[in-house]
């Protein structure tokens, strides 16, 4: 059983937002909502700041508070790949998961359920990369099995400095940023 993860190279990323547009088209995400988004974080003081550009989305945490807090079982860890999903028909739109998610990855779909990134499971099942990964003109995103010692994800994490977001939240996120 793979553990699906994404490694994003913040050096290559130019923050163009192609991942955001591709996700919107692929997954019919309503206007005004995003399953993924761009963050430009400035560190340091003028002059000579540093800028980290990140494509962000649900971190498909291995220890996901959004799943634990869900009163109906709509939020769940999928059988395949550890992907965190929402069953729309079971969701009552109570927003407990929105409050629980440390990453702000979820929103309430206009149809009344909590929605977020699925790692494009419908594509992954066909052997394709998620839409955001497949579209990226800078090739800054790599998707694959975190547990495969010879896979591209592990190789990048073993060879480049990286960080996860809010590791202190203890959710074991599966998105990693190369620096």
């Amino acid at each position: 059983m793979p553990r699906l993860a994404m490694v994003i190279d913040t050096r290559r990323c130019v923050g163009c937002g192609d991942c955001v547009v591709a996700c919107k088209v692929e997954n019919d995400v309503p206007l005004g909502h995003d399953r993924d988004w761009i963050v430009e974080e400035i560190r340091g003081r003028c002059p000579g700041p540093t800028l980290e550009i990140r494509s962000e989305r649900c971190h498909h945490c291995a220890d996901p508070p959004c799943v634990y807090c869900c009163p109906t079982g709509a939020s769940h860890i999928h059988d395949y790949g550890g992907v965190v999903l929402v069953t729309a028909s079971k969701c009552i739109g109570c927003k407990a998961c929105l409050a629980a998610c440390p990453y702000g990855a979820r929103f309430i779909h206009p149809d009344g359920y909590a929605d977020k990134c699925t790692f494009c499971l419908h594509r992954v099942e066909k052997g394709l990369d998620p839409a955001c990964v497949a579209v990226c003109p800078t090739h800054c995103m790599t998707f694959g099995d975190l547990d495969d010692p010879l896979g591209p994800v592990r190789r990048l994490l073993d060879s480049r400095p990286h960080h996860a977001l809010l590791p202190e939240a203890g959710t074991e996120p599966c998105i990693f940023y190369l620096t």
């Binding site: 130019v14 547009v21 963050v39 206009p110 003109p137």
Partner: protein, 727 residues
């Protein structure tokens, strides 16, 4: 505060606009609904910008679903940019023009009634004949942008007018092409012949790759960054590219030429130039080298604000990595009115580094041979109206602003009718008042576009065009490192009564009695003839979207013969042709106008999700960036009592005042300038989604300085004050 909102507060253009509260957040609604049904994939090429990436469009049940890069395509390499991906929204845009419109109120009042195509084109033909009778056929001018203008240009030439211009010359890349042409006898072209892929040192001067999303270049740029290419970026703004640089030089705006001259001075001083290359191919090098003597790094320090040791060190990097050092020529380079000479300095620096014609520098592009349709010769005409007496002797193309001036003055002869295709002169040309005055002086203004733009608001006749996904266009016979021929073909039908430019040109041509120049029944027949005349298969082209040509040598190392189409047949370090026309034979620095007290220099640029002023109503692209913000240095903002998200107005030196715009307080810009992304602040009532969102930098560009070599309009001499908006 929610973490996501908090992070977006400090973030850039893409996410930055999302924090401004419900009033300005993209309105919720549905994306173009995901179609269902049988899937078909149709190849075509993109038109959201001018790069012409090849794409695969997927329909479901005959409705457009998504557009992806064509993996066979050497331009997109299978990956489109966000605008190309968002091209779906151009088809579904609810703000599109739907039927031909005839003006019924005052010009500029945006009041029309819908008419049939026959009535609209009949009206246009009648007016054109009246203009011809009174002033001759040359009194009609065409402003056109992009490959879609091909058949309209053909119509104009058949009609007898040479007055065809695109803002891409005098308001954009013209100075660069002239500067390189004067030096190497060739232009940089589009896509630029830059070999970023193999550059070991890349130098960007105000060129914000990654924010301008020229697909192939950005892909190569990301690769270069990924493999640790030495990146040197001079920009008054800490751009995305600057954030990835080994050397970021926060240059004082308008002093780029001083930096270039000092870099060349250092190369001479240290003997670091490519002596063998210059000896073999250069003309007038000694005199040129002598002219650099005064331009020491210490001198340049006072102009540019860049410390002498940084200038020396960066010049050293360039010399170390030559000839794989690429000093990028940029694209939009109409900045200060001396732009052709500055671009010439860029060309000369590249020449000193031996990068022209070399791997990691500038390659030799190739194209395939596709015969033109054997039309009858075009009728003779009395010369273009844009550049009387060759006032700008090195203008390689027609000047939009020259046509505007001829319209206003009636000299050298009157221009009485304009066609405007796929461009918006009220955004592209500086000094909007002059454009409006020219439009008022016309007997006929015809606008052909996909959305009701500001210039359409002034038109007598508005003709709705099918978007690129709904039409054929001229073949793209690409001049690139990998030559190919590509086809744009319809993926879906136009939703209403929109027509393709080819159909419009032909129908109007027939009404004007120009049938001899439109012998083909439809554009498909025309395209098929050209493809087959080139010995290529129409079926292959329609099914694959492109046909690759043979690769040819790209560099001198690979066997390209060094040839320079200059008067001396060499790389002209010293230019006698410039001297003969009374210009400096080698670039000479003049300082920019100082910033008046209390003012900031207005800079502008691109965002990766929009093209010019033409994509702001696209629902998908609007959603990711609905408006621009004015970048103000954090300390300046603090001094003015402003925080990110506060609304201000900008007022320029001539008293022109903008609408309200959000502040982005950031240390990513020098304190002496402010920055706007171009293309926002729409005022046309029909652009409902974009109306009043952000501000239009072009309105504040009331001053411009014309490049004496080639007529380009330097736009960097406008200054603004920041006025708070009362809550």
């Amino acid at each position: 505060m929610h973490r996501r909102t908090f992070l977006k507060l400090g973030s850039g253009a893409v996410a930055g606009a999302c924090l401004l509260g419900p009033g300005v957040r993209a309105r919720a609604g549905s994306t173009p609904p995901k179609p269902t049904g049988e899937e078909r994939v149709i190849p075509t090429f993109c038109d959201v910008c001018f790069w012409r990436c090849n794409a695969l469009a997927t329909t479901r049940g005959g409705r457009l679903w998504k557009i992806e890069g064509n993996p066979q395509d050497p331009l997109s390499r299978g990956r489109l940019c966000p605008r190309g991906t968002g091209g779906v929204g151009a088809h579904y845009d609810p703000d599109r023009l739907r039927r031909p419109l005839l003006r019924k109120g005052e010009r500029g009042a945006e009041t029309w009634h819908e008419v049939s195509w026959d009535e609209a084109l009949g009206f246009v033909a009648e007016r054109m004949q009246a203009i011809r009778a009174a002033h001759g056929p040359e009194a009609m001018a065409l402003f056109s942008h992009g490959i879609g203008g091909t058949f309209l240009k053909h119509l104009f030439r058949a009609w007898g007018s040479p007055n065809i211009a695109a803002p891409s010359f005098a308001q954009c890349r013209g100075p660069r092409d002239v500067g390189f042409h004067l030096t190497f006898g060739e232009e940089v072209g589009s896509p630029e012949r830059t070999d970023i892929e193999h550059a070991r040192c890349l130098v960007l001067l105000g060129c914000h790759l990654g924010e301008n999303m020229h697909n192939t270049q950005v892909q190569e740029f990301a690769e270069a960054v990924g493999r640790g290419t030495t990146l040197i970026v001079a920009d008054p703004r800490f751009s995305v590219a600057a954030s990835k640089a080994k050397y970021y030089l926060p240059i004082r705006p308008g002093t780029d030429l001083a930096l270039l001259l000092a870099w060349m001075h250092v190369l001479i001083e240290e003997g670091a130039w490519d002596r063998a290359y210059v000896d073999a191919h250069g003309y007038g090098f000694d005199a040129f080298a002598a002219s650099l003597a005064p331009y020491t790094p210490e001198w340049a320090w006072t102009e540019t604000g860049i410390a002498p040791d940084v200038i020396r060190e960066t010049a050293g990097e360039m010399g170390h990595h030559r000839p794989a050092t690429l000093v990028h020529p940029g694209r939009h380079v109409t900045w200060y009115g001396d732009d052709a000479q500055r671009s010439r300095a860029v060309a000369l620096l590249n020449a000193m580094l031996g990068s022209w014609g070399r791997k990691g520098g500038f390659y030799q592009p190739a194209s395939m041979d596709v015969p033109a349709w054997p039309y009858p010769p075009y009728p003779p005409h009395r010369g273009k109206a844009d550049n009387p007496d060759q006032r700008y002797p090195f203008a390689l193309e027609t000047l939009t602003t020259g046509l505007r001036e001829a319209t206003l003055t009636g000299k050298p002869y009157p221009l009485k009718g304009w066609f405007v295709y796929a461009t918006n002169p009220l955004y592209a040309l500086p000094n909007v008042d002059e454009t409006i005055a020219a439009v008022r002086a016309l007997d006929l203004l015809v606008v052909i576009d996909v959305v009701p733009s500001e210039i359409a608001g002034w038109a007598d006749v508005v003709l709705p065009e099918a978007v690129y996904l709904e039409r054929y266009d001229e073949l793209n016979v690409e001049l690139f490192r990998q030559p190919f021929v590509a086809l744009r073909q319809p993926v879906v039908d136009p939703p209403d009564d929109q027509k393709s430019n080819a159909w419009i040109a032909r129908e109007l041509g027939l009404k004007l009695g120009l049938g001899a120049w439109f012998p083909w029944r439809d554009v498909e027949e025309y395209l098929r003839w050209r493809v087959e005349a080139a010995g290529l298969s129409w079926e292959t082209l329609t099914s694959r979207g492109l046909i690759l040509g043979p690769r040819t040598p790209l560099t001198y190392e690979e066997g390209v013969a060094p040839e320079f189409d200059t008067p001396s047949g060499k790389i002209e370090f010293w230019s006698n042709q410039l001297q003969e026309k009374g210009f400096d034979p080698v670039p000479r620095y003049t300082p920019p106008d100082p910033v008046p007290p209390g003012f900031f220099r207005l800079l502008y640029g691109r965002a990766p999700v929009h093209s010019f002023s033409r994509t702001q109503t696209n629902p998908l692209l609007h959603d990711i960036m609905p408006e621009n913000a004015v970048w103000v240095h954090s300390e300046v903002a603090h001094r003015l009592g402003l925080r990110s998200g506060d609304r201000v107005r900008l007022r320029n030196q001539d008293g022109v005042e903008s609408g309200p715009v959000a502040v982005k307080a950031t240390c990513r810009i020098r304190p002496d300038c402010v920055y706007l992304v171009h293309g926002f602040g729409h005022t046309a009532r029909g652009l409902r989604r974009a109306l009043g969102r952000g501000i239009n930098d072009a309105l504040l560009l009331s001053r411009y300085r014309t490049d004496p070599l080639m007529g380009g309009t330097g736009l960097g001499m406008n200054f603004v004050t920041i006025l708070p908006v009362e809550a």
